[in-house]
């Protein structure tokens, strides 16, 4: 029987092949692979050959990239590929039941169902990706609809549009979200002020990178501008991969102009002509509308050879990611933009000196660029007027988990956890996880701690954990996440994440001992001190927090023994089974 989606798929395939045939730039390898994956639902061998010819790459060059990214695969695993978001908040919302339900409902069709890392829909989960398309709030009714559409073999991009509608859920506006910016206005200011004055404005505003590391944006731009180079680049990090963060998704959905505006300001200041947005694969569905905004800006003279009629040339491309948390790390992101595996680079040199294609590059988070557009318009004082001494202004928090009103909240720096919880309706809260899986666990007794660089730094994730939850489940979710997302480059992170995952699993089953606890501590400290990049050094934070603040988690099943709890019954099960099935009939 002919499949209704055959024609549709083959059009996409033709388009993908045509794209490759017109490409010779090997830094577009990843983008080519993403197109192939989308069209064929895997990477067929003959397309690899074509890529080798077109891009002048070896088989291994392509193989390693395919094997690196979660969303690329040499094997076709089904006509529909369903990925279930597996953040801890998705778990709170019942994604494991969802997994079972989907499996049983779709048992008869050629569908693969697997888990994936957080898809950035934590305020409206449980969420899934179907062939890369994100669907929120998957309840019984939706499962039924999805099953019917799949049974009809309707291509995903022809599914009713309401399936793909997302909520922005902006629930608290402070100074930044309450202003509207006219496209072009910030660029005009920047041009008027000139490079030095613009940098001084940003400096006076005290804007620090919103990605979480908190480096001064003005200093970063200044370093970049000062580096001698033929070309400079502006890169917007829209690889919002930290579990529990989704504010960049909302900004890109509602404030794309302002983000591109901020990028253009940066270009004007540092002297760049090219910008790149690295959009995480999970937000692929935003691509068409973002392209539209870019086109409109070109049409309006806000991008292109003579922006606002001035001697300012700048344009922006969007690159997609393909499922790799590590690419949120700026040097790994640059590698990925160059079409390679997302392995962090040795620093120094920092990207501001040698970044994309070896040229000075500013990499900033979506929210940073968005704030830039506002600061240029409303001035440094406006921005620096709120916040704390070392953390100026406000920032967006993505709030999810066990609270009444999950969504986006803008707070001035310095706000306490208690105040945040009051705003989002977090009651009976056991703990909050600030800054995602790599962030800090704050227990109820410490809820007077404040969100700011001096105390609780964050990239914007704020997950609320109610009293009914077992924190070990959260730790297990995180250890699993890091095992999956470690790039594998350096020893402590590659091996440490696996070992921690084993140990947490052991405690979850009530089988830990003092030696495992000691090992957990050793491994976590080693990773923290000794990893190659920030992923490895921040990954163990939650485990160290647990060891220090809530050691009772690990002895929930009784006092720990010095001897490991070796499960003899499980270990001899295979032999007993073998003896039962084999020895009898062969006699």
């Amino acid at each position: 029987m002919g499949k209704p989606d055959d024609i549709q798929q083959s059009e996409k395939q033709t388009e993908a092949i045509r794209f490759i045939q017109h490409t010779s730039d090997h830094s577009l390898l990843l983008q080519c692979l993403i197109k192939i994956q989308e069209a064929y639902l895997h990477i067929p061998a003959d397309t690899v050959e074509l890529l080798q010819q077109q891009l002048g790459l070896s088989y291994a060059d392509i193989n390693v990239v395919v094997e690196f990214y979660s969303f690329l695969s040499f094997e076709k695993s089904g006509d529909y590929q369903i990925l279930i978001s597996n953040n801890i908040t998705d778990q709170f919302l019942g994604n494991q039941t969802l997994f079972k339900k989907l499996n049983s409902r779709l048992a008869d069709v050629n569908v693969s169902i697997e888990y994936t890392s957080c898809t950035g829909l934590c305020d409206q989960g449980p969420a899934i990706l179907v062939n890369g398309w994100a669907i929120n709030r998957v309840d019984d009714e939706r499962i039924e609809h999805i099953a019917e559409l799949i049974e009809q073999r309707l291509p995903v991009d022809q599914w009713p549009s309401h399936f793909f509608e997302k909520e922005d859920n902006i629930l608290r506006r402070d100074i930044q979200l309450s202003v509207e910016c006219q496209p072009g206005a910030a660029i005009k200011t920047a041009i008027q002020q000139g490079r030095e004055q613009s940098l001084e404005t940003l400096e006076a505003a005290g804007l620090k990178g919103r990605g979480g590391a908190g480096f001064s944006t003005a200093s970063k731009w200044r370093f970049c501008a000062q580096t001698e180079a033929g070309q400079r680049y502006v890169v917007c990090n829209a690889d919002e991969g930290e579990p529990g963060t989704f504010k960049d998704r909302v900004l890109l959905n509602q404030y794309a102009h302002d983000v591109f505006e901020g990028m253009t300001v940066c270009a004007a200041v540092i002297g760049a002509t090219r910008g790149l947005v690295y959009l995480r694969g999970e937000y692929r569905y935003l691509l068409p509308q973002l392209q539209q905004v870019l086109q409109q800006r070109r049409d309006d003279g806000l991008l292109g050879a003579h922006i606002l009629g001035e001697d300012l040339a700048f344009d922006i491309d969007i690159h997609l990611g393909a499922g790799a948390y590590i690419c949120g790390e700026e040097s790994a992101l640059i590698e990925s933009l160059e079409g390679k595996r997302g392995i962090p680079r040795i620093r120094p040199p920092f990207p501001v000196v040698s970044g994309y294609l070896g040229q000075p590059t500013v990499v900033n988070n979506v929210e940073s660029f968005w704030s830039v557009s506002r600061i240029m318009l409303l001035g440094a004082d406006w921005f620096a007027g709120v916040g704390t001494d070392a953390s100026k202004g406000t920032r967006l928090l993505s709030i999810s988990g066990d609270c009444r009103d999950p969504g986006i909240y803008e707070f001035p720096f310095g706000v306490t956890v208690t105040e945040i919880l009051a705003a989002c309706g977090g009651e009976q809260t056991q703990a909050i996880q600030m800054a995602g899986a790599a962030g800090t666990t704050v227990l109820a007794r410490d809820f007077e701690r404040r969100m700011c660089h001096e105390d609780l730094a964050t990239g914007g994730s704020f997950m609320v954990i109610g009293r009914q939850r077992n924190l070990l489940d959260m730790l297990a979710n995180f250890s699993n996440f890091f095992t999956h997302e470690s790039c594998g480059f350096c020893t402590p992170c590659r091996v440490g994440t696996q070992l921690i995952d084993d140990i947490i699993c052991c405690f979850k089953q009530g089988q830990g001992s003092t030696s495992e606890l000691q090992q957990l501590n050793d491994i976590a400290k080693l990773m923290q001190q000794n990893s190659f990049c920030g992923l490895g050094s921040s990954a163990p934070t939650a485990f160290l927090n647990a060891l220090q603040q809530s050691p009772e988690l690990f002895s929930a099943h009784g006092p720990l023994d010095d001897n490991p709890q070796f499960d003899l019954t499980a270990a001899v099960a295979e032999y007993e089974q073998l003896v039962a099935t084999l020895s009898g009939d062969l006699r």
Binding site: S513, N563, F566, V572
Partner: protein
């Protein structure tokens, strides 16, 4: 003078090479007799360890009986020393971990060369085989480790004399071998 130091030794899934290396202390074995008493050991007819100062374990954990013996040693010995690659990391026996137990058994008893009456031995008098081979520290807490296949006699001697003198055994890089 205090009584003699009681030492028990056992071999789990191993080749007895570590025990041979203990004997490779040669004439020093004769000196040892004055200060130690051997409890359960392949060298004596004592079948169960009891109240020992030092227990020495050779071999990996591959069957249910290994687990029981190891636990007995942990219970009865104040200080437990694991010696040799098998005990420390599974050694050569753990190479079977690359295959399933079923594959290994089939090869030996069903599909092997020159077999008559192929079948899987299953008598209740036989210990049950574990699906994977484990280092000893995955089953009980171990106090000291001596690497090597086997650890050289001089290393064993240093460990013994240090422990007997109440010293923490410490080795220089030149004394450490993994092969």
């Amino acid at each position: 003078m205090k009584g003699k130091i009681k030492i028990a030794t056992t071999s789990l899934a191993g080749c007895f090479g570590c025990h041979m290396s203990i004997l490779d202390i040669d004439e020093r074995l004769i000196d040892l007799v004055d200060i130690v008493e051997f409890n359960r050991s392949p060298l004596t007819d004592i079948k169960h360890a009891s109240q020992c100062d030092i227990g020495i374990i050779e071999g990996a954990v591959a069957n249910s009986e290994n687990v029981e013996v190891l636990r007995e040693f942990r219970r009865e010995c104040k200080t437990l020393v694991a010696i040799g690659a098998c005990a420390l990391n599974g050694g050569v026996p753990a190479m079977r971990n690359h295959y399933s137990l079923t594959e290994c058994i089939k090869e030996s008893y069903l599909d092997g060369i020159g077999l008559d009456n192929p079948m899987v031995p299953n008598d209740p008098d036989l210990p049950k085989l574990l699906d994977k081979v484990h280092p000893v520290q995955e089953v009980v807490k171990i106090d000291y480790f001596l690497p090597g296949c086997p650890p050289p006699a001089d290393m064993i001697w240093k460990m013994l004399t240090d422990l007997l003198a109440g010293r923490e055994p410490v080795f220089t890089p030149q004394q450490i071998y993994y092969d």
